[in-house]
């Protein structure tokens, strides 16, 4: 279950010369601060297939769009990775910014592009030709406009960038409501008559379910039922909804319906200054605020080109691994809840989680929303007594408690019969669907960014990438236990090696200077590959700020995972994907 650490291959750009392979179709992106390739839209699918099949970029990490309003251009950005490791590659498609904006869909090359393309359609209005089910995803059908376009203004719009002049330096007290004629966060198109409005409802959603027909052995069409689970359902870990079409008890079609917690992270993020985004990242995956901070910090540090203080690197690793442990503990508790073992395992898990949250509270002042990292380091040092507490946890308490958790569950007869041999997904399909994180590793693919493309100081630690071969529910559970053990190993080494010194390489500052360019920073968050795509144009606010959330991308495969399974297993299959709504909907 261990794998050797991969060597560091040469940077991809050096040996992949796409422009000589596709003369006239692919050109290097020559803008200052940008990397990657620009591909002509007509030949996109062909280039993508070559990248996947010949150059080994089998994992489509991220699809997103950028609205370059001043240049009157819309750009779709694709980030690719290899599951065998090494740095990623990005390529872009540029189209004129005139409706309809159309780009070929890559869903035939990577099925994992499904939800991400729908998101780009919803928020930026980019049509993906050939996408079979291009509906809105985060907003509802009938919503006016595509909110992430730079010329789209929301109801409480004040200015393009913070700090707003009304707050600083003038500092008047002004309510957002006073600027809006309806005194509320509402704006309607001119001449709109609400009494004549016919809501779209879920017609398109049920229409896309209706395409699946059921035939029995004699070839006769049989009737089916559509069940909606959520958005308020105790098993859905928040406000997730799944529209499920059933033949008896068997799932024949499933469409995830999300956006019930879409709180406009990216639109707000493009208005915030770079530093102001840090507390917002806490609220993405609200179990793992430290990991979210880390991903954002290393992305912006890449752009700024600043080093991180040595002691801060160790503190970051310690916090990120503690986060992973508490996330996996909660995951196990919740999984058992989903399987019907209400509360007892979860109570055990939350007891340990509290001890880790105590540490977060001691260093950052908040239990869940830590806002602890800064560009160049962390905000303040870990006090010596807290360090002792962490040592006590890592050396004495958590190893024993992990064993206790295992004793409680791993050989439990009922648990085994519910989980062993219930197939989840195989490795190859998981890669096609862009699944990352423990779910991918439980399907036998040893892809862990801490090893595949090491960030921070993970290359200094000795640990194994946890892998399990079967990809069933049980493997998805036990891999979390494996990962807790590996995290404890890393923590032991980090606690031994942590040097004294300053915790930030920069002076404390309110406004950071970020040169123009793009950066894509990715980390192995407890749920998978968490990546940020940030474009700066040299101003105090990011021009584009996109979060590639593991929960969101992993959901792409939900239908694939659940087809042919029993509805009773849906709860568990959804549970092991370990999604968090804050990150899924953003």
């Amino acid at each position: 279950m261990s794998m050797p650490s991969m060597g560091t291959p040469a940077p991809v750009q050096e040996f992949v010369d796409l422009s000589s392979r596709f003369p006239g179709i692919v050109a290097p992106d020559s803008r200052a601060g940008f990397t990657g390739w620009i591909v002509a839209a007509e030949r996109l699918v062909e280039v993508a297939t070559v990248l996947r099949d010949e150059l080994g970029f089998d994992l489509l990490s991220c699809v997103t769009g950028v609205d370059y309003l001043p240049e009157n251009r819309m750009e779709v950005v694709y980030h690719l990775n290899r599951t065998t490791g090494g740095p990623g590659l990005n390529f872009k498609v540029q189209v004129a910014r005139a409706d309809p904006i159309e780009v070929p869909s890559l869903i035939g090359v990577w099925p994992g592009a499904d939800l991400q393309e729908r998101e780009a359609w919803d928020l930026l209005g980019i049509r993906f030709a050939g996408h079979p089910d291009l509906r809105r995803i985060l907003m509802w059908e009938g919503f006016e406009g595509h909110p992430l376009r730079k010329d789209w203004k929301e109801a409480f719009y004040e200015e393009d960038g913070k700090p707003f002049k009304s707050r600083w330096p003038e500092g008047q007290l002004q309510m957002a409501e006073d600027r809006n004629p309806l005194q509320d966060n509402l704006s309607f198109p001119p001449g709109f008559d609400p009494e004549k409005w016919i809501p779209e409802g879920d017609a398109l959603l049920y229409g896309s379910l209706a395409r699946y027909t059921i035939k029995d052995e004699q070839g006769l069409s049989t009737d089916s039922i559509v069940v909606n689970m959520g958005p308020q359902h105790p098993s859905t870990h928040g406000v997730f909804r799944a529209a499920i079409k059933l033949n008896g008890e068997t799932i024949v079609a499933l469409k995830p319906v999300i956006g019930y917690l879409h709180r406009n992270h990216e639109k707000i993020g493009e208005r915030n200054t770079f530093l102001l985004n840090m507390p917002y990242t806490d609220r993405l995956d609200y179990f793992n605020s430290m990991a979210n901070n880390l991903g954002y910090a290393i992305t912006v540090e890449k752009l700024m080109g600043i080093p991180v203080a040595e002691r801060a690197e160790y503190i970051r690793v310690i916090m990120a691994e503690l986060t992973r442990i508490q996330n996996h503990l909660v995951f196990i508790g919740n999984l058992l809840n989903d399987l019907g073992a209400m509360y007892t395992p979860a109570l055990y898990a939350f007891e340990e989680r509290e001890l880790i949250l105590d540490i977060f509270e001691a260093v950052s002042g908040a239990r869940m929303m830590c806002n602890y990292l800064r560009f160049g380091g962390v905000v303040r040092d870990v006090p010596p007594d807290v360090m002792e507490k962490i040592r006590g946890l890592v050396h004495d308490r958590l190893p024993g408690k992990t064993d206790e958790m295992e004793r409680l569950l791993t050989e439990n007869e009922i648990f085994l019969s519910r989980t062993k041999g219930v197939p989840m997904i195989d490795g190859e399909t998981a890669v096609q669907y862009s699944i990352t994180g423990p779910v991918l590793r439980a399907a036998g693919v040893p892809y862990d960014i801490r090893r595949a493309d090491p960030y921070s100081i993970y290359d200094r630690f000795e640990f194994d990438v946890a892998v399990r071969p079967h990809g069933d529910l049980f493997d998805n559970y036990i891999i979390r236990i494996d990962e807790i053990r590996q995290s404890l190993r890393i923590l032991e080494q980090a606690l031994k090696g942590i040097p004294e010194g300053p915790v930030n390489s920069q002076k404390p500052q309110y406004q950071v200077r970020v040169p123009a360019g793009e950066a894509y920073g990715r980390i192995e968050s407890p749920k998978g590959e968490l990546a940020y795509y940030v474009v700066s144009n040299g101003k105090p606010n990011p021009w584009r700020y996109h979060v590639r959330a593991p929960s969101f991308v992993n959901i792409s495969a939900l239908e694939k995972i659940c087809l042919g399974k029993k509805i009773a297993d849906f709860v568990a299959l959804f549970g092991v994907l370990d999604v968090v709504m804050g990150e899924l909907d953003r």
Binding site: M139, F192, P199, V239, L261
Partner: protein, 212 residues
């Protein structure tokens, strides 16, 4: 124990009878029963929901207040803990859940988002506080509120229940049964049916301004 709130003041009960006999009136008995078994709806929206779950676990133990029974069905719940950001896409479902809860029912707005939009207030999909739609009994500040803060808020709710009287509560008044809150409609933006004329007027104004 609970006798303090159950007993009417001014009546002496000998110490050996204190856990056996209570002298009280109907209001106190009724409120005592209700305040000690407030069943929250098992329903979380965002980050605050995690702290709500933590309040149920061993360290904070909400069961001390008789609130550990989370009901997934609104028909069995007395208390709606709006724990998290209320979005426009979600608010029709929240209002419908509230309408399905039987009286007496209470609403606690947990955290900054549910109270007033919080850090996400300017977002295009965010409702700036659940009190735009539902009558809120207690606001709990924080982002997210710690479990202690939530428990403090729930104790305030108990105090509120203590002050109610059978003679005046709305659900026993003739014709005073609750009127359902109209469910918002998802249009080009969120349409509150109660504000339709206003929306029409403002939109018509916008059209006139666009012409001129």
């Amino acid at each position: 124990m609970t006798e303090q709130s159950l007993n009417s003041p001014g009546y002496e009960i000998s110490p050996d009878m204190q856990n056996v006999v209570a002298i009280t009136n109907l209001d106190r008995l009724y409120n005592w029963g209700r305040r000690s078994s407030v069943w929250p709806l098992m329903f979380g929206l965002a980050c605050c929901a995690i702290e709500m779950i933590v309040a149920q676990t061993a360290r904070y133990d909400l069961a001390r207040f008789g609130m550990e029974v989370m009901r997934p069905s609104p028909r069995q719940a007395d208390l709606m803990l709006v724990a998290g950001t209320v979005t426009k896409k979600m608010v029709p479902a929240i209002v419908r859940l509230y309408n399905q809860m039987p009286e007496p029912k209470y609403v606690v707005a947990m955290g900054a988002c549910a109270s007033g939009g919080g850090p996400f207030k300017e977002g295009y999909n965010v409702v700036a506080g659940i009190d735009k739609f539902l009558p809120v009994d207690v606001y709990v500040p924080g982002c997210p509120p710690t479990p202690q803060a939530l428990i403090a808020g729930l104790i305030r709710l108990q105090q509120k229940i203590d002050k109610e009287s059978i003679r005046s509560v709305r659900w026993y008044r003739k014709g005073g049964d609750t009127v359902a809150v109209p469910v918002p409609i998802l249009g080009p933006d969120l349409i509150d049916p109660r504000r339709m004329p206003e929306i029409k007027r403002v939109a018509a104004q916008g059209a006139a301004e666009a012409k001129s």
